[in-house]
Each structure stands twice: as C-alpha cells, then as structure tokens.
C-alpha cells in the first residue's frame, strides 16, 4: 500500500498523473482557487484527498528561508543542570510554534563550532547554554544569525544570566556568619564564563568581609573532578607530623588551612564531599561545602548540599523568548545582559568551623 512506513507519501506529481493533468495545474488548483476550471479543480481536490496528499510543509519556508526552528546547544547533556533549562527553552519555543533542536557538544569547543556551522542556514537562531567557544567565535556566528547566550556574557551578543554577584555575596556572607575566615573556590573549566565571573565576585566580596579567599583548579565540572579537587584541597598547607603518623585522617585534618569551600557547580561540590569523606574528613564537621545550581540530587547527597540555586528553567525560557523576538525583528533595547536572581538554599553541608 502506498504511504506505508511514510516512505512514499503521494506528491503533487502522483496527483497530476492520476488526474491526467500537468503538475503545475495541480499546484494552481490546490493553492490558487479560481485559476483552474471549477470542474478540474473539483476533480483534483477529490483525487488529492483520496490519495492522502498533503502539501509539503517545507515549501512554505522557501521564500523566506525561515524554518521556524531554533537550536539550543548545551555543553554536556549528562549534567543535570541542563534539564530544567532545556524544559524552559522547549516550552517557550513550543508556545511560539517553534521547534527546538537540541545539540550536545560533550564539553568540546570544536564540536560546538562544527554544529553551528552545519546548522547555520537551516535554523532561524542559536541559543548557547554555557558555551565553550571564545568570544570572537561566538560573535562571528552572531553576525550571521540571531543568537542569545545563557550563563555567559559576550560583548554585542544578547544574553541571559543568573545574578552571580548577588549569589556569591549570599554564599560568602552565609559562611562568614557561621564564622569561616578561609574559603577555597574550586574552579570549573577555564573556558567557562560563569567560572571566571563567580571567582571574581567571590574574591571581591571576600575582601570586603575580611576573609582569606584562594582558588584551586581548573577541574572538569563533574563528580570525578570533585574527587580530584578534594585531594588537592589538602595539599598546599604544610603537613603537621603527629604521634600517630603523617598519613592518617588526623594529619589531614590538622593540615587543612581552609574551613570552607565554594565549588563552581554542584557536581564538583558533591564529588569533593565524597573525596573528602574518602580521605577521612567530615562535611561539615571539618570542612563546609557550598555548590552552585541546585541540581536534582543536591538534596539527596550526604550531607544534603547547601547551594546557590540559579533560576534554570527561567534562564532557558527567557533566552528562547528573547531569541524569538530577535528573529521576528526586535532590536534589543540594550546590550546589557538580562540578569535573573539567584537564591542560596541552606542545607546541611555548611556549619560553624571547629573551634
């Protein structure tokens, strides 16, 4: 049967053959009433309906070159930080009748560039979630197609970001209120804009609060990265020999100069908690830990993680809504990023330092 498995849906040529007329006659009959005799038109409509002919929806996109499709590029689909962003983006696109194409670049700038080159002419716009490209590479694409970036600010490209300044201020103030004076920042990927901004904000607010702030890393923004950070966390300070030997948990405890940690993201924070526990230290007994993002699972790790919650779903939805407005011709009122509020969620991974 024709049409089975969709591999041979009837075309305008099939309808023309069945009616014994030219394809152009079928086209006129179906698209411009009155230009074909009523009798012929009626017959063509009848045959088209019987054969299950449907106009090729691609045809309508040809005059403008628009596809009503936008692409969202994420740096790592396995990171649960993206699930709410994708849902927000997907729903905003669907509400506007647009289709969202998702692309996962597995933390590779090369793959990100390839995907964008390939899709350049077949999508109406690009949304980059936590892009790993250079500012220059992002601007090059943005000159050719409407684009928004999420979680990142690039000169001349509209963006939507969480309020990292206010967030880092809340996290550092929380730790200072608990009595912590030495905080280590566990750094994420060097190519991450958010990583740079969070570190700068933390250093600035730490100075105001009279805290000692240091940074270690960069690390992969994964649980494995957190384990590596945990081991490094104890390294820089000189080890103190005790009667029980230098390698035991007590040595680790006395050697650490930092009493609190803020990690670039929750996966790093969770990995660091696991790694510290493996080294014989306790969280928050020996070290308090704060994450960023509030991913699914941040409240079921041990202990439940204190973290800076970004409005992830709103980031995705706002980014796509702004992108669609640009596609329809809107000029951004200003080139300043849209900033959405963050919120510190205090759970059990932070406590006063040991006396």
């Amino acid at each position: 049967m024709v049409g089975k498995q969709g591999r041979s849906m009837p075309t305008i040529y099939d309808v023309a053959r069945e009616c014994g007329v030219a394809p152009s006659t079928v086209s006129r009959a179906l698209s411009r009433p009155g230009r074909v005799s009523a009798r012929t038109s009626e017959r063509i409509h009848e045959v088209a309906a019987r054969m299950g002919y449907q106009p090729n929806p691609l045809a309508k996109y040809l005059p403008t070159g628009r596809t009503e499709t936008v692409v969202l590029i994420v740096s790592d689909i396995a990171n649960p930080v993206y699930s709410p962003m994708i849902r927000g983006a997907e729903q905003a696109a669907a509400q506007a009748g647009y289709t969202l194409v998702l692309s996962d670049i597995d933390e590779s700038p090369d793959r990100e560039r390839d995907v964008m080159q390939k899709l350049l002419r077949t999508v109406d716009g690009f949304a980059l979630a936590t892009s790993r490209l250079s500012d220059a590479a992002i601007r090059t694409i943005a000159r050719q197609r409407p684009m928004v970036t999420m979680n990142r600010v690039t000169q001349q490209v509209p963006s939507v970001v969480p309020d990292n300044d206010q967030g880092m201020r809340a996290a550092a103030t929380h730790l200072a209120d608990l009595g912590h004076g030495r905080v280590t920042y566990i750094s994420g990927p060097a190519t991450s804009w958010a990583n740079v901004v969070r570190w700068r904000a933390l250093r600035a607010v730490g100075e105001q609060l009279g805290m000692k702030i240091r940074r270690i890393g960069p690390y992969a923004p994964t649980v494995a990265g957190g384990w590596a950070a945990a081991a490094d966390l104890l390294k820089p300070a000189p080890r103190t020999r005790t009667g029980r030997g230098s390698a035991g948990p007590a040595a680790g405890r006395t050697a650490t100069a930092t009493t609190a940690v803020i990690a670039y993201n929750d996966l790093l924070a969770i990995g660091a908690m696991q790694g510290l526990s493996d080294l014989g230290l306790s969280v928050p007994g020996d070290i308090s830990i704060v994450g960023c993002d509030n991913i699914l699972g941040a409240d079921w790790c041990t202990p439940p993680l204190t973290t800076l919650a970004a409005p992830l779903r709103e980031l995705g939805a706002t980014g796509i809504r702004n992108l669609l407005a640009m596609i329809k011709g809107a000029q951004p009122r200003s080139r300043r990023p849209v900033v959405l509020p963050s919120q510190l969620i205090v759970r059990e991974s932070t406590a006063p330092p040991r006396a």
Copy 2:
C-alpha cells in the same frame, strides 16, 4: 549592512537584480555549469560571492520531502534516565549527518500526540523514548513515518529495550540469596510499558524462587512518588501495639511485612529511602531497596543504591541507528524487539533481613 543579524541574507533575487539578469539565469549559472555563457556565469559567481550569497539548503530537501532530521520524544527531561539515552541518540544521528530534534512531553500523552502531529511532515522519523501513548496511537503514526520505540514494545513497530526479564531475575535472585522472602514492587505509571513488563517478570521469577511478591501503586516516577510509596508500604500489614506506643519507629518496624522493595525506577527508590528514613526506618537495616536505571546520583544517595543498570546510551544509539536504516529503506529482518542486556549493580541499599 546587509546580512547583519542574518535577517536579510542575500537571495537569488538579490544576486539577479545586482547582475541585471533573471533569477532563473542566476539559478542555472550556479547549479548547472555550461548552460549560461561563460562571461555571464563568471559575473554571477563573482557577484554572488561578493554579496555573501549561499544556496538555500532547504531547496535540496524539496524533491524528496526529506529533512535529514529525526525527533526523539522523551516523557520527562527532568528524569536523569534520559541524559545518557539522549547523548547516545544525538551521537548516532550526528555520525549519520542527521539532526536530532528533542521534544519533552512532561508525562502528558496529549502533548505527545500534539508534538507528533505537528512534526509529522517535517521530520524523517520518530524515536519514542518511554512513550506514554496507547499502542493504537503509536501504530497510527508508525504507518505514516518510520518509527522506533525505546523502552517499549508495540506490535508492528520496531523497538529497542533493555532485558527486563533477565534484569528482574538478577534482582530477585540477589534478594533471595540475602534471605528475603517477601518483596514489594513499587509501581510506576500505569501507561508505562516497562512498568507492566517489570512487574510481570518479577512476579514470575518470585514464584519460581518461592518468594511472596506484592505490588503497590501506581506512583509518579519521581522522588515525590517514592515518598508517597514509603508511607503506603507500611499500611497494609496490621500494626502491632508495643509498650512504647503505636506511632513510634518500633511500631513501624514490627508492622512491616515486607523486608525488601524493588522500585520501577531509581527516583522512586531514592524517594522511598528518604520517606522510610523520615518514618524512622533504616535502609537496608529494616528494608532493602533496589532501583532500576542506575541514573547519575544513584551512588550518592544514602545509602548508595543497589540498582538494575539499563544500557541507556546504547538504547539511544541503537534506536536511532535502526530508525535511520528504516528511513533509508531497510526492512527490519524481524518484528521482534532488539534486546540489550541489563546489569545489577550491588551497592549498599541491600543487606540480609533482620533475624
């Protein structure tokens, strides 16, 4: 400047106007060398290059109606079970030069039907990950477009599934070896094919092993669903009054008839562990718990979860590879599902029952 923001990339009409020739002449010059005089052709190529004209890639799809795009529909993007499936699917599509469109239906069969109707003519095929539609609805779409289902078997539609029979056998045998004789299955959505199959497989193997198997539910396949299941888990068996009163942890402990639980998925299992802990019971001390899927976070909950790991990434990749083969005209050799092996990962949420 023309071309800025991509809203007015030059078309064939712009090139024609600039050259003072008909658009059809430009088309011939660019697509069929030799049909236009060498001098005119050279001029057209030069102008097209200077104006930054690129052929509209949509045009090449028109004759066949193919878009080199396939869609993957997931029931809930917030469930981490989909991340590895999406990555596998995305990579298989990219390797073949296809674009993967992702659609999230938020557990709604209505939304799933809408998405499929909307995309019916603009994608080359459908992959359904854990569809929430009826078999009849799935078959209706499958008659119009190539389709594969993942995590679900529907008569006449090719599918890729984990080995639920072997998996449930491994889980039940593990519990029997530990000495458990009473197992409760926490049921997921009633519309989930995997849920029905897992329950049937567990009941069959439990009978062979001489275990008492019961089922509670259905529950939403989320952490919140697991909390609800934990409360229900203790309800059916009559409560035993003790000297310390009926509502305390001791009463709960003595009242439960089940010593082990297998949950439809890891989110339900993790929620149930949290709920049981909240009710004063310990896992695995009072009740052993087994999940399904081995999602990110299954090893950082408390205690780390024993779970049946499905080959999620391979499910996604194999599903898309089979779909692309169908799009290119391959006939499935058989209508039987492709079955990929599952693996029981034993962690700390299972232990022998209290004597």
